[in-house]
């Protein structure tokens, strides 16, 4: 059985405040808009209703039993009230209920107004996911992005405009904590699960249909920047029932060019020599219209025999023009072997017959072998500790004070050996500069 979860809006008349209250109107909801944030458990709900007000004081009661609404966030606003006919005199939170408030609204004259009620709720979230179908030669991929909305708020939202916010918002208190008095009841999991199981039979429009039910083509998702955020607006309206999720296609781009680079970079990709597929979120790569929100990128390889899984990356936010590097793990066809070819201790120094300093000289070989019938690029990061000097005939860049970087290309079915030596001073041999 479904828990009692509802939002109730009641307009009360009260000639003198203390007189018996009288129900005046059943306010109908004209529309609802959900603005869902992905960085926090936060959704801004905005609903509009048309109400009739009498001249003088009007009392409007708003209650939200068994939902995850933050009571401190509930706001009333008259829309298109340029003359300032309506004014909220106060907002009262009665002692007898944690899930109700009463607005005292003063109207200069009797009139009908469209009003907007906004509030934060917990329990609705969205996430992004990406699927890349990589061509057999790894030169390009077809990239499809999805957004999935999850509703665990205890409240059904029917025919709602849905807006998804990309960005990291700053909150000083969690909405779920502010909504806590209602939480224990709203999150009675067994009741929720029971209800969710029964819901398809109870919903008049069927789960997840709403305005989009029976659509013949995927909905458009309009993207626009606002301050540090991007807002994805889903075309039309959606019905999102509690405990249901809904996935929509955000965009699809064919032929995104890919670069394959083999990395040894323990700080970024772990200790193994790893194949990394790279692309940029820019126009050159047929992307760059908007940033890519954080989400899981899954790559599959297309081949004549079918599709194979390549790997996945829990990607962070990718700004416009920024690059994306997806590690797909080691590749048996491209190998890296490091060997220490020599080790010598020299310049031993003593203090009263006790060793207090020495210098180690080591030479290394890095052999990279490309067994593939395709040219590849390689980037190797090698770090050292202590007071060291690095020497190599092969070109190496300074990545930072203790890391050197080799970048090279390898033709198909070739190999290359890099040679370098490291002189490290220990104890009293550490070089005074």
């Amino acid at each position: 059985m479904r828990p009692v979860a509802f939002i109730c809006l009641t307009l009360l008349a009260c000639a003198p405040l203390c007189a018996k209250e009288e129900l005046v109107t059943l306010p109908k909801r004209d529309g609802v808009q959900l603005t869902i944030y992905n960085s926090e458990d936060l959704t801004l709900v905005r609903e509009t209703r048309t109400l009739s007000f009498k001249a003088g004081e009007n009392r409007l009661q708003f209650s939200w039993a068994n939902t995850l609404i933050d009571p401190t966030s509930v706001e009333f606003q008259a829309l298109a009230d340029k003359e300032g006919n309506l004014e909220v005199s106060d907002t009262s939170y009665p002692a007898e209920s944690h899930e109700m408030l009463i607005w005292t609204i003063t109207a200069k004259k009797a009139a009908s107004h469209q009003v907007q009620i906004t509030y934060f709720t917990s329990g609705i979230s969205w996430s992004a996911e990406y699927t890349g179908l990589v061509a057999a030669d790894e030169s390009a991929m077809d990239l499809t992005a999805y957004v999935t909305v999850h509703n665990r708020s205890g409240e059904d939202y029917e025919d709602a405009e849905v807006r998804l916010v990309v960005g990291v918002i700053h909150l000083v208190e969690k909405v779920i904590n502010l909504a806590q008095p209602a939480t224990s009841r709203a999150m009675d999991r067994k009741e929720m699960e029971d209800w969710a199981r029964d819901a398809p039979n109870k919903s008049p429009s069927g789960p997840g249909r709403g305005g989009g039910g029976g659509m013949s083509k995927p909905k458009q998702i309009d993207k626009a920047g606002l301050s540090e955020y991007y807002i994805y607006s889903v075309e039309g309206t959606e019905t999102i029932l509690t405990n249901w999720s809904k996935r929509l296609r955000s965009f699809s781009v064919a032929g995104v060019p890919l670069k394959t680079v083999y990395h040894l970079n323990p700080a970024k990709f772990g200790p193994e020599f790893t194949k990394v597929l790279e692309f940029k979120n820019n126009e050159e790569c047929k992307l760059g219209k908007e940033p890519l929100p954080d989400g899981l990128i899954r790559l599959f390889r297309q081949s004549a025999s079918g599709m194979g899984y390549m790997g996945a990356l829990a990607s962070k936010y990718i700004a416009k023009n920024d690059e994306v590097k997806i590690s797909v793990g080691p590749d048996a066809e491209v190998t890296l072997k490091e060997k220490r070819m020599s080790f010598q201790k020299k310049d031993l120094t003593f203090n009263q017959r006790w060793l207090e300093g020495w210098t180690g000289v080591e030479t290394f070989e890095l052999e990279v072998r490309n067994f593939r019938s395709k040219a590849i690029e390689v980037e190797i990061h090698r770090s050292f500790g202590g007071d060291f000097d690095f020497n190599s005939e092969d070109k190496a860049e300074v990545e930072n004070f203790n890391t050197r970087k080799f970048i090279l290309s390898l033709a198909p079915n070739t190999s290359r050996t890099l040679v370098f030596s490291v002189t490290t001073r220990y104890g009293s041999n550490v070089k005074p500069k």
Partner: protein, 371 residues
């Protein structure tokens, strides 16, 4: 979403403080008259940051000679020592002779001398506990993020045990509103609204505020008349920030605690992270120099590669920390301005070109006498 219709009952006011007029009999008799003079006015003052002062006026019929006036309170949290009782008129002929406190009761008795039989208006003031207050703000920022409308709300929650049928609630800045407030009830009112308040947006990479390498987005508003504020000190409170999206609606863009901001001071509000500005730190040089025994100096070059992926140039403020004795070298580069805020903290302002073109801030410094 379901709708349900129902009517709510008005809360009933509870009267807990009682005034009785006793005849001048020995105190142990304590015969209380049934006449309870009504409160003619009640003011609840929030001048003090932690205490709430209640002030009430009552007219009491006095007999000639000494009158005993009982004042008792049950179930309320009144600070007995704070009770002040005085005639309202400055030139009153009535005198307060003494105050007696009966044992084990939330009560007291004033001995009041009157030259004749008269009705006298008295003021009773006392500190009352368990009345909570909360200041909050709502900023509606313009689409271009240069101005906002700034609303100031005051919320009171009454857990005092006393119900106020009608009272003047007076905020710290002297704003007065008349409301009824029952025991357990809370009320929120809009006390101030300022339009066209100028705001400044800043991007800050501040290692004294966060360690994850994020760039924070701040709004800064100065509590001054120049920008549309400056009328009252702004109390500590939560600021919720919305922004006009240019489509007739607004989006919530973040919230922060606004600290107490006197007139002339600035309020800095973090709304979130600027994900389109990336800062990558690398220590490029970390050499020991000038070694003397176990004491040495270090030569260090910290490189911050900044990429601004926005479509327009931005200024990024970097606030960095270096501990100990140190000095910046002359070849430090990549910044518009530099300020040493204190011994450990430095501030750089860096101009960042658009569309991801990298800019390098090279912070070269030497630490002295490290051991």
């Amino acid at each position: 979403m379901k709708l349900r219709l129902f009517a709510a009952a008005l809360p009933t006011a509870l009267a807990c403080a009682i005034i009785g007029l006793s005849s001048p009999t020995p105190a142990e008799a304590r015969i209380k008259l049934a006449t309870l003079p009504d409160r003619e006015a009640v003011a609840v003052r929030f001048d003090h940051p932690n205490q709430v002062l209640v002030e009430e006026e009552r007219t009491i019929a006095l007999q000639a000679g000494v009158n005993n006036i009982d004042f008792s309170w049950a179930g309320t949290n009144i600070d007995k020592g704070s009770i002040v009782f005085r005639p309202a008129a400055a030139d009153s002929k009535v005198e307060i002779l003494s105050t007696s406190y009966p044992p084990g009761e939330n009560a007291l008795t004033w001995a009041v001398s009157s030259p004749d039989a008269r009705s006298e208006k008295f003021r009773i003031s006392y500190l009352m506990g368990n009345i909570q207050r909360e200041t909050s703000y709502q900023a509606m920022v313009s689409k271009d993020e240069t101005t906002c409308s700034f609303k100031h709300y005051f919320k009171i929650r009454n857990w005092s045990g006393e119900s106020f049928a009608e009272a003047d609630f007076i905020t710290r800045d002297g704003k007065k509103f008349e409301k009824a407030l029952s025991q357990g009830e809370a009320k929120r009112v809009l006390v101030n609204k300022w339009d066209n308040v100028k705001i400044k947006k800043e991007y800050v990479y501040d290692l004294t505020r966060q360690y994850e390498g994020k760039v924070l987005t701040d709004y800064v508003l100065v509590n001054s008349k120049d920008i549309g504020l400056g009328q009252i000190p702004l109390e500590f409170g939560k600021v919720r920030i919305y922004q006009d999206d240019g489509k007739g609606t607004a989006a919530f863009t973040g919230e922060d605690w606004g600290r107490f901001t006197p007139i002339g001071d600035e309020m800095r509000l973090n709304i979130g992270t600027a994900q389109d500005i990336k800062v990558e730190f690398k220590k490029m040089v970390n050499d020991v120099t000038n070694r003397r025994g176990n004491v040495y100096d270090t030569d260090e070059l910290d490189q911050y590669e900044i990429k601004n992926f926005k479509d327009s140039e931005v200024i990024l403020t970097l606030v960095l920390r270096v501990d100990g004795e140190w000095e910046m070298m002359k070849d430090a580069s990549g910044f518009e301005s530099f300020e040493r805020m204190d011994n450990e903290t430095v501030k750089f302002r860096v101009k960042c070109p658009p569309k991801g073109a990298p800019v390098l801030l090279k912070f070269h410094y030497q630490r002295k006498d490290v051991w």
